[in-house]
Every structure is written in structure tokens, then in C-alpha cells.
Amino acid sequence: MLAFAPLLLALAQRPDDPTWARDVAPLLFDHCVACHRPGEVAPFPLLTADDAADHAEQIARACRIRYMPPWSAEPSDPPFVGTRGLTEAQIALLERWAAAGAPAGDLAAAPQPPHFTPGWQLGEPDLVVTMDEPFVVPADGLDSYRNFVIAVPLDAMRYVCGWELRFDHPKPVHHGVLKVDPGDSSRRLDARDPLPGFAEMETGEAISPDGQFLGWTPGRTPHLLPDGMSWRLRPGSDLVLQLHLVPTGKPESVRATIGLHFTSTPIQRLPYVFRLGSTAIDIPAGATDYEIVDRYTLPVAVELHAFVPHAHYLARTVRVGATFPDGAARTLLEIKDWDFAWQDEYRYQRPVALPAGTTLDVRWLFDNSADNPRNPSRPPARVRYGPRSIEEMCDVWIQVIPAGRADFEKLQPDQAKQELALLRAGFELELANDPDDAEAHLDLGQTLLQQGDAPGARREFARTIELDPANARAHLRLGSLLARERDVASARPHLERVVELEPDHAGAMVELGRLAAAAGDFTAAREWHARAATARPKLFAARAGYAILLDDSGDDVGAVAHYEAALASDPDAKELRRAYGWLLAASPVAAARNGEKALALARAMLDETPDGVRELDLMAAAQAECRRYKAAETTAERALMLAQRGDEPALTAAIAARRSLYAGRKPYRQPAGLPR
């Protein structure tokens, strides 16, 4: 009886019915099989006629409601990279095929499924790192966010031009974001959480590096950044991989492996990332059209590259628009049915030029009523800003590239001002709702400090400590602020308390070392710096602090190794490079000097800043150390000429004095460090 079934179906089929071989397979191959194949995130494969027939009506229904292929944004011009979605005609075809009984058609004439490169898509990575241990996603429960801290075994800074993410079991992973933590805040959060990684959407002090969004969504093809674009990864930094995990019904063990690709080309085009949105969210229970609007007028012309919108369950729609200086307006991004489950990055295939004076605006709408089925609270409850999924967020992160360095440096402070105002409004709302929220006082203090209000910051940090005496971050911030204000006596106990609370806190040790040195206690200073360098040997601040202390106290030979280690962690640290250059060119200790190395360092710095007075000054000293006195004199002459245009009489006088030395065929020597 079974043998007759296909025959019966074949008889019922009309010649113009779509078939898998002719009509459906090309659609599935183009739009579905990147995920719907064995080993990938989708729940079933759609590679063969049988695979497709076993889900025919399901496919038609999922496409009709535009649940599949997953893509939330309205069509845009220019289109977004990786845009998915079917036309009305394609969906109608799938429906007719399913209604006709999913005929296979002439299998011999069917197209071949696309070839997928097994393993790494970008080729063999330069560095592969893996989560220490797998994380088990529980069988049941809500979506969760989890952050995994992954150490990178690097001895020198690298420019990363591509990355790829692979999972042993990808099914529960809905999307991922990679960030970089330059310090150890993420490790600390991880240490506090008994399971692998740490929960929730906050990632400590981890950031999207060098203006790059590092997002991953299932089925998206990884790509290398264009030449001259990359992000820096320094020794001692951690990668922080945030995964949005969705239970599948059985416990799923997830372990991610990251492949990194390096380039030797330094960054030539630096994107800038900022957000529009708000942290001052307070949605009454039952509200159906709660609105958040934010706007920003660009002070410089930019290329607009990408958007990453982020909100939780209550958001219904988001729209990003632009109003040009001539008054013309257009929609840039619109999502009419926001779905927390499918977050994505929307990157233009070609960037959009926005002239200076363009106003970008963002509008979110939220539905906190019982009629919003995604509402996690029943009955609806008042919802405020926060990173937990029962709280709300409403950001649109925007990636732009200004035309050049000058524009970048104009955009950055202008945008930072707006961002600080945004943060401050949020923290002030939090404190209006809960005046005893210790963390909110700490955050407000940090924001005030960045806004230049040091007394306000001191007040807020002190309030945090009053409410939560064991808050190490509050002690660190207050201690560092007092140290900056040279109030050593008040600063020290706060910093000592940090080390008492967190015995391997290298940052606090460096501050204590500096305080001790400033107070003239070099024995204590050395001890603190040595402890910091031992606790975090690859942390820039730990090695740099020790190098400067040894240099200042006359142990120039001892300083060399720490300068080298610190500059391996961050070769772009200008001040430290210059200090090391002077030590190499002009140390009073012969064993510490290295003329050739000083020359190379000065040359590299001059490449970046061709007419830098300080760079030329250093170059002249290096040339003199190599006994090239004539060249040294010429270089110093040029430095002097440029210095005279500026307003730095002390520097000008010093350069003039050095030039006279070179004219007399003598190298310059720094004054000997005090023997301490």
C-alpha cells in the first residue's frame, strides 16, 4: 500500500505545480541551508527533497509570517550585508508547492547543494583560543545571557583583521558579541560566579575594541576587515564572549572556539562607535506606547557604516532616521516587529555619506501591557532601565568613520559630552527612585568625574562607601581621585583597602606605588610596583608603572625589561615610548643605553608625527648617541625652530642647550637618577 503513495501523489500533481527540483531547491539553497544543514544551528536539515518535503507546510507557514528566514529590518538603500528574506512571489511559490503535496519533480535536473567549506571559513587562523570549560545550558527556562572570559596568549600587541567563532554544539546559541577587556574586571566578575562565565548582559569594563562591532549571528559568513582596518589586541587583555543562549529542551553543553587573524598593517581607518538611546527608562505597568526619543547632530561629515539596535522584551518598534542640513529626511533603519530573540548587526553594503550638520534620530516604542505576549511580567509590572532581561534597554549603536584624524578628534569629545549627559540622566533617575543605591552613586560619581566635576565625584564615591563599606571599586575610584589631587594621606587608606579586599588588584598596587614614590618612600614604591608586576605580568599599567619608577630612581638597567614588557602590551603608548627612548639615548648609565634601538624608536614615532617637536628632540639625542653629531645638530635645529613657534619656553631652552652639545660633538646625558 505504501508503494502506491508516491504514484497517487504524482497523479494528483498538475504540470504547473512547483517542484522541489526546479523551484524550491534553489530558494532553500540560497536562503536556508547555511543554517539548515547538519552540525549547524537550525533544528533540521533542508538539503534534500525528502528533508524539504518532511517540513513543506511548516516552511510555507514560517516564511509567510516572515519568521524565517530570520531578518527583522525593513528593506534599506543601500541594502544591509547579509539581508535575508523572501519576496512575496517566492513565499507564494512555497505555499503552492506545499499545497500540491511537496512534489520532488525531476531529481536528476535538481541543482547541486552549495559547497560549504568545512571548518574555518577564513582559512587557518593565526591564533585559536577556546573557552576553559564548556557551559551547560539548562534544558528549561528563559533566554539567558552569559559572558565567557577567554585569556589570549600573546607576547606582543597584534592587529586583528578577522575573527571566527565555532561551537561544538551551536543549537542553543542565538547570537554572540565579542569584546575585549583591557584589565581584569571581567575576570573578577567571572570569579564571583560559581559556573563557567558570568551571567547577564553587563560585561564589566570590556569594550568593543577600536570602534569595531564584533557580532556573530547564526548563518552569517565571517569576513576579513578591509586593508588598513583592524582592532588591537594587547597581551594581558582578555576576550569576553557574550552569548545569548536559548534552552532547547535538553541540557546542552556549549564550548566556543575563536579563531583570530592578524595583519601587520597598522590601523589607518579608525571607526567611531556611539549610541543614541537612553538609560532613563521607567515604563509604567500597562503602558502601551511608551516612547524613547534621542537625537544627535554630527559636528563633522562621516561615512555611516552600521547599526546595532538593542532592547529587551517590551520593545515593539525602532526607527533610526536622518535629517540632512538641507532639511531633507530619510529613514535609515526600521524594525516594525522587534524580537529580542533575533538581534543582529545591520551593516550597509556601501557606506552612506552624512554631511556635517546631519541630525540622527532614534525612536523606540514599548508595550508593557498584558497584550504584549512577550511581556515577562504577568500582571505587567513597572519596568526600569537595566541589563537584566526583565529590565529594559533602548540603544542603537552606530558605527561611523570620520574623514580623517582631525574630524575624528572633533567628533569624539562632542559625542562623549552627549554620552555623559545620557548616562547622568539615567543614574539620576535611578537615585531618584532609590536614593540608597550604592552602585548608582558610584556610577554617577564616575560620570561627574568625566564631566569635570571632581567635588561631585568625591561626594558620590564617599556615599557609595558609606552605603557599602566593602565596595572595592568605590575605594579604588575615590583613592585614585584623591591621589590625583595629591591628597596622599586621604588616598592611601582607600587604596590599601582595595588590596585588602582584592589581594591581586594590580591597579591599586600601581597607584600605591606612585603614592609612595611621591612621598619619597622608594622602598615601599618598589615593593608595590614589584607586587603589581608579579600579579599581572602582562598588564600594561603594572609594567609601565614599574619601569617609570625604576627609571626615576636611577635603576635604568632594571627599568629596561619592564619598558620592553609594557610596550609589548601596548606599543602605541606614546608617553612611555618617549620615556624609554630617552633612557636608551641618554641614560647616564652606559649599560642601559642602546643608540640603535633609540634611533628605531624615534624613527617610528616621527613616522606618526612627522613634525613633532618632542619626537625630533628625541631623534637628535638618539643620533648623537650613535655619534652622528652633524645629523643630530640638524635635527635639533629643526626641533628648535618648531619649538619657537609654540609656547613652551622651558622646552625651547632645553633643546637649544642640547643643540650646543651636539655642535661640540658631545651626546646628551640625562641627569643621574637619585640613588634611592
Partner: protein, 204 residues
């Protein structure tokens, strides 16, 4: 009083002795047509003919339906809640193209505690009128169907999942059956994977 309500009133009376410990004996007129299917690792069985069951739940599922799979923990909860109270649970695998090993592995991976039926010929599917996985059918002693539809209302549409259900329809129907009442709602739409995409194979 409608005919159905009269029937339930009669059943309610019949259910009373069960509460006192004696299994009710269904009157011959209420007997459903016997459907014998294959139980995994056991053999042929008529799932609706267990005289000890105060109610019987059929849960239609397939291995590659993500919505069915996400219900596995909820099915385990229902089993833990109601099996001790005399409710029989059968998981019904409807895909004709699967091996016993595949089903066994799936049952183990998802931690299903219930008995497992193989329905490649869709005999139980036809009897229950199931069209979706996951879909539940609740039978009273004697084979009368008291409820058919979703397990709960957390799946609003394929792309809209509630964080928590607001109605546990199957649990409410079982409660009603155990109390000898008609369920408030006897039929609900199930949302999930289209069962009809699988053509029935040979019965086993």
C-alpha cells in the same frame, strides 16, 4: 443540558469509585475502537485500554521539531505531577522514517520519563485528530476524548513565545478529568510543527 455535558455528568459519577481506590469499569458503549500500536522496547499495546489509568494523555511529538523539544521539561513536570495520581502518559513519535535507536536516544537526551509509542502509520494521529507537534490528547477511561490541543499557551505564534504560560491548558483538563468535571475548554489550537508534512508509513 447539552448531550456532551450529560455525558460528562455520567462520567463524573463513574469516576467516583476511582477516588475510593477501585478502578472504574467503563460501560461497553463508551469503548473507543481499539488502536494497537507498537510501544518502544515492549511490543504491541492499546494505550487507551489500561484499566488502571484514571486518564490517559497522548503527546504527539517528532524529534526534529524544536517547539516539541522545548516542551520536554514541561512534559516531565506534568508527568511528575499527575502520574502518581493515576494518569498514564504516552509520548507518540509520529515520524515514519526513524529507527528505534534514534527514538531511544531522543528519549534519553531529553529526559522523557513517560512510555513511548511509535505511530509511523498515524493511527493514533487519526484517532486523536492531531495536526501539530507538540499536541496533546486527553482520554478518559473508556476511550472518550476530553481534551485536544496545546500543552499550554506559551507559544503564541512560531515567532512569539511567552516567557511563561498564562494558561496550562492540558494540566487544567487533567485536573477537570480527575475531578470528574468537563474541562473548561475541550479543544485549543496547538502551535508548532505541521504533522501533516510527514506522510504516514506502514503501521508497525
Amino acid at each position: 443540558m447539552s448531550a456532551a455535558a450529560t455525558a460528562f455528568a455520567a462520567l463524573a459519577l463513574l469516576a467516583l469509585p476511582a477516588a475510593c481506590g477501585a478502578p472504574p469499569r467503563p460501560p461497553p458503549t463508551a469503548t473507543a475502537p481499539a488502536v494497537v500500536v507498537f510501544e518502544l522496547d515492549r511490543g504491541p499495546v492499546d494505550p487507551l485500554a489500561d484499566p488502571a489509568a484514571r486518564a490517559t494523555v497522548l503527546l504527539f511529538t517528532r524529534r526534529d521539531c524544536p517547539i516539541s523539544n522545548r516542551y520536554a521539561p514541561e512534559i516531565a513536570h506534568l508527568h511528575a505531577e499527575y502520574a502518581p495520581r493515576g494518569v498514564a502518559f504516552f509520548l507518540v513519535y509520529v515520524d515514519p522514517g526513524q529507527t528505534d535507536d534514534e527514538v531511544r536516544a531522543h528519549v534519553r537526551d531529553y529526559g522523557y520519563p513517560c512510555r513511548v509509542l511509535l505511530d509511523p502509520g498515524h493511527q493514533l494521529v487519526a484517532l486523536a485528530g492531531a495536526t501539530i507537534t507538540p499536541e496533546a490528547a486527553l482520554y478518559l477511561p473508556g476511550g472518550r476524548r476530553a481534551y485536544r490541543g496545546r500543552i499550554d499557551d506559551r507559544v503564541v505564534a512560531l515567532d512569539v513565545i511567552r516567557p511563561q504560560p498564562t494558561r496550562r491548558d492540558l494540566a487544567e483538563a487533567i485536573d477537570a478529568a480527575l475531578a470528574g468535571r468537563a474541562p473548561e475548554v475541550a479543544e485549543t489550537p496547538a502551535i508548532g510543527c505541521v504533522l501533516g508534512d510527514l506522510r504516514p508509513g506502514a503501521p508497525r
